[in-house]
């Protein structure tokens, strides 16, 4: 395994940048997840690492080698495709052996390693089957064994779980992570599923419109989102629009003065995590901010309850509260108090025209 570095990697089609200035450093043995909506450039980036797309500019380094201009078959990467791409006319053993055969590994050695790789994914007994005789989950494990058996410098996973049903997905998620840690595999995975990303990654890369928006741990992204996009895409946020009057006072469109930790004054937006918004029948002690409001809408999610609370004609926040037996349980139309601490709100400069769907227009 090896370190993987991308340096200002870009891919341009005409005027359109499928990926633009992607710079990443994946440490040896690290599990990095590229996360973003479809068309954000994550798959383009993965395919540039694998060598299927030639970058317009920039560099890909694998270990000590610049592989930017090497064809796919001369790079030592193991890719698990979304569709698994098992060779239908070859048995499981032959599929897994393919990479070793291309590397001219002696037969005896190859047989041994194929058996080990299949044992690793617990499919040792199915070596003589054809891919079509396997279930989706088994095919996925064969694809994984095939990508690992020749000891690639980096393991690449392209939405590897998207074709599995929900229950299996949980299992495979754990299994891949276990393997990755046991073998200390440098891994880059692409997904649009944030739960998948959050549970598997050492570090995440949030991408949108071909650009890297933020790189960091789960906690970094959630607690300190770099911009509105990340705040809306990783976890949920409700947004208050307005402007920063002083670095520590935000004025909403509806005229509320909110204590915050901001930077330069000017138009800005404030993102609030629903579970960090406190709701009580009485004014809140302890909170840096406290506003009266009216519950407009309640959605019952089982263990949790979502409340849409209007603070002013132009300001709406979403609060998520636990569903407790003895707890406070407001209904639509109730007057409540809403509060949050300075530390739990993020302020982003600029007017929010690319507003999040949870940011409802003023009534």
């Amino acid at each position: 395994m090896a370190r993987l570095q991308l340096n200002q990697l870009s891919k341009r089609y005409g005027d359109f940048f499928a990926a633009s200035d992607v710079t990443l450093d994946v440490a040896d043995g690290e599990f990095l997840v590229l996360l973003g909506p479809s068309g954000c450039g994550k798959t383009t980036t993965l395919r540039m690492i694998a060598g299927f797309i030639e970058p317009t500019s920039g560099m890909v380094r694998l270990g000590d080698n610049d592989v930017t201009r090497l064809p796919a078959w001369k790079r030592n990467t193991g890719l698990v495709f979304q569709s698994y791409a098992l060779f239908p006319h070859l048995t499981v053993n032959q599929n897994v052996a393919f990479g070793l055969e291309m590397r001219k590994t002696p037969k005896a050695e190859a047989d041994k390693r194929v058996a080990e790789a299949l044992e690793l994914v617990r499919l040792g007994h199915l070596g003589d089957r054809l891919p079509r005789q396997l279930s989706g989950g088994q095919q996925q494990r064969v694809a994984l064994a095939r990508a690992l058996v020749f000891r690639p410098d980096v393991l690449l996973l392209d939405e590897p779980l998207s074709n599995l049903d929900a229950k299996l997905r949980q299992e495979v998620r754990v299994e891949i992570r276990r393997l990755q840690q046991a073998l200390s595999l440098t891994t880059v995975m692409v997904t649009h599923d944030q739960e998948e990303a959050l549970t598997m990654a050492d570090r995440l890369v949030v991408m949108s419109e071909g650009k890297v928006r933020q790189v960091g741990t789960q906690r970094d992204l959630y607690e300190r989102p770099a911009d509105r996009f990340v705040a809306g895409f990783v976890g949920r946020s409700s947004f208050l629009e307005g402007s920063l009057e002083t670095p520590d006072r935000f004025r909403t469109r509806g005229g509320l003065a909110v204590a915050c930790r901001g930077t330069t004054p000017g138009p800005a937006g404030m993102a609030l995590r629903p579970e960090r918004v406190m709701v009580a029948p009485e004014p809140l002690a302890g909170a840096d901010n406290d506003f009266p409001g009216e519950v407009e809408f309640v959605s019952y999610l089982g263990g949790l309850i979502d409340l849409h609370i209007r603070l002013s004609p132009a300001d709406l926040v979403i609060a998520q509260i636990p569903n407790r037996e003895e707890g406070f349980m407001p209904k639509a139309g109730d007057r409540v108090h809403v509060g949050w601490t300075v530390a739990s709100a993020s302020v982003f400069p600029g007017a929010g025209e690319d507003a999040d769907p949870t940011d409802l227009p003023p009534a």
Partner: protein, 277 residues
Amino acid sequence: MTGLMGFDRRVIGRWALTTAAALTMLYILLPLISVIWLSFYRQEIPSFPPEGYSLHWYGVIAGNQRFVDGLLLSVQLGVSATAIGLAVGVPAALCLSRFRFPGREALNNVLLLPLMVPGVVLGTALYVFHVEAEIATGGNLPIIGSTLGLLSGHVLVVIPWIVRLVLASLAGFDRTLEEAAMNLGADRWTTFRRITMPGILPGVVAGAMFGFVASFGNLEMSLFLVGPGRTTLPIAILQYLEWKIDPSIAAVSVVQIVLIGAAMLITDRFVKISRVV
């Protein structure tokens, strides 16, 4: 009441379907059956009912040098034309399905054209072309009536079948398999040989098969291209029929049917033709 009506309707429907299917099968098989039957007649005049049965006519055709030579030439032509057709048609189909280039649609149509043009027209056109070519080269290119000229015509007949069936195979071929192979260390040629080719093999084999049959049975175009003393089997049969009708013609036809049928069955053992055609 309605239950009974529904039952009746279903029975009638099934009966109608079976009858229609049986009639169609009969329509297709009857000529074949009568030819096979006729080939075993003892008498020379193919009249009904037969006076008795024998293998006499099979002996007659085996002793007829024109039929034997015709069969050999037809097989040689079919095999060579198919081989050349594969060498041209498979790469052509790959280009047509993989690349977007100006004139792609036109090229596609040109490659399928020999299938639409009547054999007589194709034969006339090739003949005129051969004549012109010989005149233009001052007789240095003796192509009229040559085996090479005949072969080039048969290649034309074979190519559309191969292109068409390989294209159909390629449309159903998952290209991420090729990427997977390259990711595992296979260069382009190895990927084609080990992954693409096995994937499109049913189309290639079926295309070769149909191409061979088209060449083997071709009469109209070949009439214009054969030289003196060199006739294909269909032409030999036609020439024989011009002055004589006896069961030996039926026997020759049976030999053809058996050859083609055997080729189909053998092919089908390796690749399911019904999956491509």
